[in-house]
Symmetry: C2
Subunit: 197 residues, 2 copies
């Protein structure tokens, strides 16, 4: 019904997260109707990103320079490393502007179900970094999911013989959260970790 | 937080229909993690489409050849033209494999609210085509929305002095539809257009 060029564009768009065949067709038409203002700039931006963006050899963040802008920034505290699962988590922390140390991106979590073992994650380099004299603390900021927690425990074990304090994010009621809508696990964690007023 | 290349990619992705800033970030990371298998092929497919795909000068369909594959296909009946709002509607009819005539894409609907008048739509060429001796019927397949219906009525008036029969799609209960879930307008149309068993 359509030419092979359009079909191929739709097929590739349908492989993006959150898009199916129907929304891929919609996106393809949207792009083809906006050739100059959207389709060509987006194609150029993708080509540009594909050529220039690469993982940072130190922390695993994605950037056009290596080491990445965060690892290369002398204003950032080199004594504290925040371990995250994915670059998306690093971006989330950076958007919040709450952390001034360095990061380490694991590239996933341990998962028996998906066959992801320690050798599949960016763990060896983390241990190397944790042994550097300048590093005093490793904050494990994996997700509060089963796999994230398993990975956090594994990392804690592996980091035990490095001379660093290993910490994790606090669990509790999210700011703005209503107790009535929270799950039992969160409530239990919040009660257990209660603080003096 | 990220390089200008990644920021620009995210900004452009966020302008696609159905994507917001959050899902654009997700898509960008998905692409950057799959450089060879997805990012580069998609950039190439977009560049390719931007260069080759164009509207058909006869019917307004999008294709890499002009006239488009449908207009150029000698097996398709030239005596019947199906008028649709957008290329997406043409694709929907083609997917259903139910129509063997030619199409005419209006490029939208009349809309007083959005300031779309007859001169903004592909109407003049439609009248030219309808006056050709070979054309005997024009099926108006605009959407069953207020704007689609307004456009259909306007087209019927304009086509009155062409020597063609002007028809429209039937209204009624959609196949598989349950009466309990249908709106009053559809039920009224279905009752009014009832047929002998």
């Amino acid at each position: 019904m359509t030419g092979p060029e359009i079909d191929r564009l739709i097929q590739l768009l349908a492989r993006l997260p959150g898009l199916g065949p129907r929304s891929a067709r919609r996106v393809a038409l949207h792009l083809l109707k906006r050739r100059e203002v959207l389709l060509q700039p987006l194609a150029a931006a993708m080509t540009d990103a594909a050529e220039k963006v690469q993982p940072c050899s130190q922390c695993g963040n994605l950037d056009t320079i290596d080491p990445c802008a965060i690892c290369a920034d002398p204003r950032r505290d080199p004594s504290i490393i925040c371990v995250v699962e994915e670059v998306a988590d690093l971006w989330a922390l950076e958007r919040a502007r709450i952390f001034a140390g360095r990061y380490h991106v694991l590239g996933g979590t341990l998962s028996a179900l998906d066959g992801v073992g320690p050798e599949d994650l960016n763990i060896g380099p983390l241990l190397g970094r944790a042994r550097q004299a300048a590093v005093r603390e490793v904050v494990i900021a994996t997700n509060a999911t089963t796999d994230g927690q398993t990975t956090a425990h594994y990392l804690t074990d592996r980091l035990a013989d490095c001379d660093v304090s290993v910490t994790r994010l606090a669990y509790g009621v999210p700011v703005g959260g209503e107790l009535d809508y929270l799950d039992d696990g969160t409530l239990a964690a919040a009660l257990k970790a209660r603080r003096a007023f």
